[in-house]
Every structure is written in structure tokens, then in C-alpha cells.
């Protein structure tokens, strides 16, 4: 009888399909690694080889000399870290207040934030560019081609996710808990610091990591506003490996992997909290 063994066969079948699915999604990144480890002359063979004759691990070292990778990395870090801090400073109080009080215009504020999330910067890139050209003609330090412009655009468009997910977290913390602490003599800030914030920590961490990754991966605004190479972040910097006559694919993909691996790990950490924030309160 198959009655006993059917679940085992089913599980084996599902695992088999799972392996194929995992391979499908990983395949481009495996190819990225193979290319990154290939000697340059082996990348120009017709037809292509599945694997190079030897792995050139030194590509991961020479790339730092061949390209201004430090500069790209530094720009990516400056933009992502400062945009994340700005988002945190701005959205934390807004989310806390919105979760705790029913003020006039509360729904309007939530609606405005939600709409911001829907309008990706791509849709507004022409307006954003013209705005920063205009600002730059008065205050050059805040116009196009400055870290400032990149930081505040990234912050503004990631504010929404952060605010929504933190409103959701703060709402789950019972008011009584804060009141109890305040009766015990804690000041308002003390209550926030010792009771509310620690309980909301998973939400705050999710918001921080998500904002960091979104700013790290942002492309169209950086392509438009960062005109000089010394403020190019990684996303724009790696495309400069695509020259007019030849492409240094091995360096392009060593740089890409350096950009991708850390954020994949960060993403896996926050995986289980993500969907709720991205779908803005629509799925429990």
C-alpha cells in the first residue's frame, strides 16, 4: 500500500521542486560569481564556457586598483547611513504620535504617507531634478551633485515604509504599560526610552534595515543627481565598467557581488517582518 509512504514521496517531490526553484533564483548570481572569478581573456570565447579553466581569485583584489571602488563604496555608505538616520529621526516621533493619539488630520497624514510610498522617485525624477537645479542655483551646497540632495530624496521616499511599520508596532504596545511606568515615577521620555522603544525594537530594526537597503540599491535618482564620479554610489559606479569599446565584466561583477552580499544577509534577517510594512496595513 502506498498509504504510509505517500507523505514521504510527496515531501521528496516537493524538495526536488524546491531545489529547482532555488537554483532558478540563484542562477544569475552564481553566474555573477563565476564571471567575477574568471580571467579576462576567458570571457571572450564563442560559445561561452560554463566554467573558466582556473579561478582568478585575485580579481577581488585587483578590482580595488582598477576602479574607484572605495569611492563608490564610501558614497553608498554615506548616502545610505545618513538617509536611514534621517528617516529614523523623522518617522519615529511621527509614528509614535500617530499610533497613540487621534489628532485632527491623522487619517490625512496616513494617506499622504501611503501615497508617498506608492510614488516611487522614478515617477517624479524630472520634477526632482528641476527642483534641485533650482535650489542649487541659490545654494550650491544643497543642489544637484551633492550628497545632501541624494540623502534627502532617499529619506523622503523611504519615510513611508518606516512610518507605517512603526505605527503598527507602537499600536500593539498597550497604553497601560506606559501608564504604569509613568505612575512609578518615570518621566515621559523615560517611559519612551525604557518601555516603549525596547518593545518596538523589531519594528525599528526592520525599518532601519529596509531603508538602508532601499537607499543602497537606489539607482535612478543617483543616476540623475550624482553627476560627478566622486559621489557616484555603487549602483551607478558599476555601470561605468561598461565602456564604449570594451566591458570589464569580471570587475563589474566583483563590484556587484561586494554590493549584493551584505544586503542579502540583512534582508534575510528582517524577512518575516517585511510583508506587513510593504503592503501598508492591508494584510494582517
Amino acid at each position: 500500500m502506498t498509504g504510509v509512504r505517500a507523505p514521504t514521496i510527496r515531501k521528496a517531490l516537493l524538495t526536488g521542486i524546491g531545489v529547482l526553484v532555488a537554483f532558478f533564483f540563484m542562477a544569475p548570481y552564481i553566474q555573477m560569481l563565476i564571471t567575477a572569478l574568471s580571467p579576462a581573456d576567458e570571457l571572450v570565447s564563442v560559445p561561452a564556457n560554463y566554467l573558466p579553466s582556473r579561478f582568478e581569485f585575485s580579481n577581488f583584489i585587483t578590482v580595488w586598483e582598477e576602479a574607484p571602488l572605495w569611492g563608490y563604496l564610501r558614497s553608498s555608505l554615506i548616502i545610505s547611513i545618513l538617509a536611514t538616520l534621517l528617516v529614523l529621526v523623522v518617522s519615529l516621533p511621527a509614528a509614535y504620535y500617530t499610533a497613540r493619539y487621534r489628532y485632527r488630520g491623522r487619517l490625512l497624514f496616513l494617506l499622504l504617507v501611503l501615497i508617498t510610498q506608492m510614488f516611487a522617485p522614478t515617477a517624479l525624477v524630472i520634477g526632482i531634478y528641476r527642483e534641485f537645479v533650482a535650489i542649487g542655483s541659490v545654494f550650491p551646497a544643497a543642489g544637484v551633485n551633492t550628497y545632501f540632495s541624494l540623502i534627502i530624496v532617499n529619506a523622503a521616499f523611504n519615510l513611508a515604509f518606516s512610518t507605517w511599520i512603526m505605527v503598527a508596532y507602537f499600536s500593539t504596545i498597550p497604553v497601560e504599560l506606559e501608564e504604569a511606568a509613568s505612575i512609578d515615577g518615570a518621566s515621559r521620555l523615560g517611559v519612551l526610552r525604557r518601555v516603549t522603544l525596547p518593545l518596538a525594537l523589531p519594528g525599528i530594526i526592520t525599518a532601519v534595515i529596509f531603508t538602508f537597503i532601499a537607499a543602497w540599491n537606489e539607482f535612478v535618482i543617483a543616476l540623475t543627481l550624482a553627476q560627478s564620479a566622486d559621489i557616484h554610489p555603487l549602483t551607478v559606479g558599476v555601470t561605468t565598467f561598461i565602456g564604449q569599446y570594451r566591458v570589464e565584466w569580471q570587475y563589474l561583477f566583483t563590484s556587484s557581488l561586494i554590493a549584493i552580499v551584505p544586503v542579502v544577509i540583512l534582508f534575510i534577517i528582517i524577512e518575516k517582518w517585511l510583508v506587513g510594512g510593504l503592503t501598508a496595513g492591508s494584510i494582517k
Binding site: 504620535y97 488630520g105 516611487a120 549584493i260
Partner: protein
Amino acid sequence: MSQARVAPVDKPPAAAPPRRRRLPDLGPLPWIGPALLLIFAVVLWPTFEMARTSVLEISRSGLAKGFIGFENFERLLADPGFMGILTRTLAWVVIVVSVTILVSLALASLLNAAFPGRRLVRWALIVPWAASVVMTATIWRWMLDGFYGIINRILLDLGLLSGPINDWLGNPSSAFIWLMFVAIFVSLPFTTYVLLAGLQSIPKDIYEAGEVDGATGWHSYVSLTLPLLRPALLVAAIINMINVFNSFPIIWAMTRGGPGSLTDTTTTYMYKLAFQLLDVGQSAAMAVVNFGVILLFVLLYLRFVDWRRA
């Protein structure tokens, strides 16, 4: 205290314990003011600037030369390639979103079942979601290279190609199919996760009750799962429509909308108009049209989703 607290239990203000206050009550402004300021400065101002630019005559160097009404829009409509771009954009959104939803339904069911190694499959699915889209698109461009690409090698070994050289991205039709493929590839993880969350919120006993009524397997999927998944499906579909419509890096990294404008969508064409063809006025007109389309999607979303619950 002028504002009533949000649940759990609303007490009448008089019953609230007296509170020592160090700061005067300015209402919500100190709390939400900075967020509003950021939204006004970086979202609302550019929206206004974009709309204003669309009715101005703008020189090639970017200077405004005065109001010209709807002339930018008329020039956009008269653009010989425009109808093709419009049709392609429609195909792009409809095909990418529907295929993504169908495949995600299958993937979500797979990940909702228990089997050894499921966690690793979930992690593999995260990679294209976390990785920079422009970098993902660039590796596909390399794999699709007409001379040195691995895809040609694989298809050659499978006997599906007659020769080793095949310029997938140089030919507009095959290029557009591959662009859609990559757009689906990067859209699948998020969609699958949303649908998986939907599946996990369906109580198991519903299926037991269904079995009593004779609903099993495929029948139970169609009559029970899909209707219960409706909210998640709607959310996934609308968010996808917005993302796919806005998608810029895939096309930019793989074909730049070329050859010519033959793989452009309205989003990449808007960019090209402003920053390659230096026609900012017409680009702003295109941007206003795009903005209208997204606004429509947003209204659909607000209509279907209970966002007020937060």
C-alpha cells in the same frame, strides 16, 4: 488632554490621571512636522514643478522661455514613436503582472507546504529581492550577450539554436521578451511573499469543513483558497502594477530602450526625453501622463484596501 487616545480602552478625558507637563502642548506638529516637511520638500514640490514644466517652453539648456499651454502634450502625441511606446507599455504591465501573479501563486503554494529545505528555498527567493535591480539586470544582459553569453551556450547544447551567435538584445522583439522575463524574475519574490502571507492567514479548519463537502485538491483550491486569497491577490496585483509601470533600471541596464525607442516604455522614454534628447518640456508632459496612470493605480489600491485600520 485634548486628544483621545487610540484603543485599547478609551477613557473619558476627565478620568485620565493628572500629568506633569514640562512642555506646552503644541498638538501633533512637533511630532509629525518634520515628516510633513520632508514630504512637502521632496514629493509635493517636485510634483508641482513637474506639472508646471509640462506647460512651459523649455530650452535645450533647461531654461524656461514662457507658458505654451498644452503644446508639449501635442508634440508628445505627434511623436511618431509614441503610439508604439504606449502599446508596449500596456503589454509590459499586463503581461509582466499577470505572469508574475500566476507563477507566484504556484510558488506561494509550494512554500506554504512543509518539506525539508523549505527555509533555504525561501532564502534563495530573497536574493533577487534584496539585490540591486540594476545589477541583476546587468548580469542578465551579460548572460544574454550575443557572442559570449551563457544563454546561447545552453540553448546550443540543448539543440535549440543553429549557431553560437544570437543577438537577443539587438533585436527589438526578442529584446522585449527578455526584458519582460527579467521584470518577472525580479517581481516574483515580493509577490510570492505577499501571497504566502495571505495563504498562511487562511485557517486550516476551513479545508477540513470543505473535505466534508467533498472539496479536495484542485477543487478545494479553486472554491476555497482563491476566494479567500482575494485581498492578498488584489494588493499584490496593484503594487506590482505600480512597480512594473515605474520600472526603469531593467530596461536602462539591458537595452537603454533601444534599438531606437523600440524597447522603451513611457517611463524610460520620459527619462530619455529629458536627459538624452534634452527636451525637458516634452519629458515633463510624458511625466504628467505617467503620474496620472500611477494615481489611477493608487486610487484603485485605496479603494480595495482597508488602510484606515492602522
